[in-house]
């Protein structure tokens, strides 16, 4: 009897452990969207986040499905290029598959130097062509980049802070019972910021407690932030910087022009005020502890433009204790320009910058950088001392992974982590946010 128990116990033990490891791996692959087509290619990197070491062979498992009832012949190939579009590896094999069949191939790419690489998997038959695009990284924590930090960069932002402090905030906090729930109170918040411009935000305070850490969210590019009702353990403060959401009284331009407002004048470029709006938001939080705000536990977060704003806020102000950002926009703007030059079709933000450049002959790229070097988030990175979590999508063309990692590697804080979403473009996966939630609890020791 006892032997039977031993046998059953340890058999179950081993089976469960093995099955769960396999299940976890399969689960990772199944997060990809189901694809359709005559012949389907499903590449899976050996490293689940598609990040490899520089001395490591890059391995992909390529599943090929013949979705038709016909015998198919042709070729399957892969092409690896750098971020500049330079070919560094390629191979082709003959394809012969019966109808409704599948096969699995192992793709081996020789070790590559540090960086990110685009890998295209292609299938070509007499009547069908398809390409699946992926990106893998090689030791991205070793990516370096040149800083183009103006000599008077610190003085420029010090002066900006001085000018901000001259503006009386005249805070106005108004409770909105119609938006509040039995568990949370919703307030609209108004304040005056840099240039005496009115900006607004939303504050959501849980009712079941007296003091909460703060989730301070700053917006993406011309995105309207609404009251964040999803956060039970934090006070949620969502600030619409000038020109975003309900802060469009003065600046109200569309997405095609927002990043161009006064771009030819570094003193008046729109992001000077935007960055200062984020600091003004902090001023608001730190002067309203009476609303239950734990001013010693403020974390700032944002995605895309919000990622850049979050980083700049953390860099300029030590009242931010934790920084999380996703796909930070404008990072390493010089290299962003180089990488974007290799795209078949231009995308934001250089689509807008290039258009402006072409329509304004006097506005050279040198002039562009003379302004933007004061605003490139990478130039703020060394000033970030708090814990940092960054998420990137490897297929992102708006914020190329190489630029995001260059920014990340310049951050002074040693308490920093990054998460790669291998199948995401200008976004991160849902799992990233689950991890971010745990990560924040760890940093703030929240139960």
């Amino acid at each position: 009897m006892k032997r039977k128990f031993y046998l059953i116990f340890f058999s179950i033990f081993i089976c469960v452990v093995c099955a769960s490891k396999t299940s976890a791996a399969i689960q990772q692959q199944e997060t990809e969207t189901a694809e359709t087509g005559d012949i389907i290619l499903k590449p899976s990197p050996q490293s689940k986040n598609a990040i490899f070491k520089s001395n490591q062979e890059v391995l992909y498992r390529l599943q090929v499905l013949n979705n038709t009832h016909d015998y198919k012949t042709g070729r399957i190939s892969y092409l690896v290029t750098t971020d500049e579009g330079k070919k560094v590896a390629a191979d082709t094999i003959h394809l012969a598959m019966h109808g409704r069949s599948s096969k699995e191939l192992t793709i081996k790419v020789p070790p590559k130097p540090t960086g990110f690489y685009r890998i295209n998997f292609m299938v070509n038959t007499a009547d069908y062509d398809d390409t699946v695009r992926k990106v893998f990284g090689i030791s991205p924590e070793n990516i370096t980049s040149q800083l183009h930090r103006p000599a008077d960069f610190d003085e420029f932002w010090k002066q900006s802070r001085v000018e901000l402090e001259k503006v009386l905030p005249k805070y106005r906090v108004l409770e909105h019972p119609e938006l509040s729930t039995s568990e949370k109170k919703v307030y609209s918040v108004e304040m005056y910021s840099y240039g005496n411009l009115l900006i607004r935000g939303w504050l959501v305070v849980p009712k079941d407690g007296k003091k909460f850490p703060v989730h301070y969210r700053v917006p993406g590019y011309v995105v309207s932030l609404k009251p964040n009702m999803d956060n039970d353990d934090f006070i949620a403060f969502d600030l619409n910087v000038r020109g975003n959401g309900n802060s469009k009284d003065v600046v109200n331009v569309g997405t095609d022009n927002y990043c161009l407002v006064n771009i030819e004048n570094k003193e008046k470029y729109i992001y000077r005020g935007v960055y200062m709006d984020c600091i003004r938001g902090l001023d608001f939080l730190c002067s309203h502890a009476n609303l239950g705000i734990d001013t010693s536990k403020i974390f700032v977060e944002g995605g895309s433009q919000g990622g850049a704003l979050a980083l700049v806020t953390a860099a300029l102000d030590s009242r931010v204790k934790v920084l999380t950002m996703q796909v930070p926009l404008y990072a390493d703007i010089h290299d962003d320009m180089n990488v974007s030059a290799s795209y078949d079709k231009q995308v934001f933000p250089f689509k807008i910058f290039r258009k402006y450049n072409s329509m304004h002959p006097g506005f050279t790229w040198d002039k562009f950088f003379q302004t933007f070097d004061y605003y490139d988030p990478q130039n703020f990175a060394q000033m970030v001392k708090c814990p940092v979590l960054m998420g990137i999508g490897l297929l992102d063309q708006f914020c190329p992974p190489r630029c995001s990692m260059a920014l990340f590697n310049h951050i002074s804080s040693t308490n920093k982590e990054f998460v790669c979403a291998p199948n995401s473009s200008h976004e991160v996966s849902f799992n990233y946010f689950l991890f971010q939630n745990l990560w924040l609890r760890e940093k703030f020791r929240i139960p």
Partner: protein, 276 residues
């Protein structure tokens, strides 16, 4: 001797019952965070199950009661690795009938070990393994003590837990414990817990525990170690209330509807959970 044997039997069962399963379960505690779980438990029995699972009535006036306080602590060393430890303090009254009773009290077995999260399934479900040691904190006479087996031991436990689709959570634990004595015992247990939030701050949970303890010595009356061979099934229902993010309280009750060579026990527990 029979009464002494009964005490030991009850004690074994009680120790199993008093572990704070539901408060820690297989969920990783989280790096740098602590969980402290003081608890109070009550166990009582008058009748017992014989070797065939039949109920044998106790003698008139005879009753075994045990009151225990226990302290469980857990600390997240890393995101995957937790340190856990628990120690009980026992107070037992063995009423023999006719006004006679025996009282024993003292600290019981320290259980300490490490729990490691093997796999996390999208941060929703977790598979963990726990290895721990058992150290008796009381003196025993030739391995005999009313406060425990008096032997060192070790345990390995596989835990799978997480969220249910929709509302609620579950926890399953498969454990094997071995005491380092020539007679063992070797103990296998399987626990299933299902918890359901009835409101944001209140929950109901059900525990189902199957327990089997093997020993070469199967006699009931010959000596105290004769009671090392037994089995039981124990359902328990709990109600939990979250007073704050850091403090919750659980109250529960249990009954043993089936057993072999064990007591027809019932009782309850009050468990406080502090997350620091």
């Amino acid at each position: 001797m029979k009464q002494t044997a009964t005490v030991a039997l009850c004690l074994l069962i009680f120790i199993v019952f008093s572990l704070p399963f539901k408060t820690y379960a297989g969920f990783p505690i989280g790096k740098y965070r602590d969980i402290v779980v003081p608890s109070f438990s009550y166990y009582s029995q008058t009748d017992r199950y014989d070797i065939n699972g039949n109920i044998v009535k106790g003698q008139p006036g005879a009753r075994f009661s045990s009151y225990s306080t226990s302290l469980f602590i857990g600390y997240g060393i890393t995101r995957r690795l937790d340190f856990i430890a628990s120690v009980p303090f026992l107070y037992q009254i063995n009423a023999l009938g006719k006004g006679n009773s025996i009282i024993n009290q003292g600290v019981g077995d320290l259980v300490a070990g490490l729990s490691y999260n093997l796999v996390n399934f999208n941060y929703k479900r977790f598979l963990s393994v726990q290895v721990s040691g058992v150290v008796p904190l009381y003196s025993s006479n030739n391995g005999t003590s009313p406060l425990g087996l008096g032997d060192y031991g070790s345990e390995i436990k596989l835990m799978y837990c997480g969220s249910m689709p929709g509302k609620g959570y579950f926890n399953t634990e498969l454990a094997y414990r071995r005491y380092f004595d020539y007679q063992g015992p070797d103990q296998f247990s399987f626990l299933v817990t299902y918890g359901y939030p009835v409101t944001k701050h209140n929950q109901i949970s059900i525990d189902l525990l199957l327990f089997r303890s093997f020993s070469d010595n199967k006699a009931f009356n010959s000596n105290v170690f004769a009671e090392r061979d037994y089995a039981f099934f124990k359902p328990q229902i709990n109600f939990g209330h979250q007073f704050s993010r850091r403090f919750s309280l659980f109250i529960g009750g249990f009954y043993v509807p089936y057993g072999i060579n064990t007591g027809v026990g019932y009782g309850g527990s009050l468990v406080a959970v502090f997350k620091l």
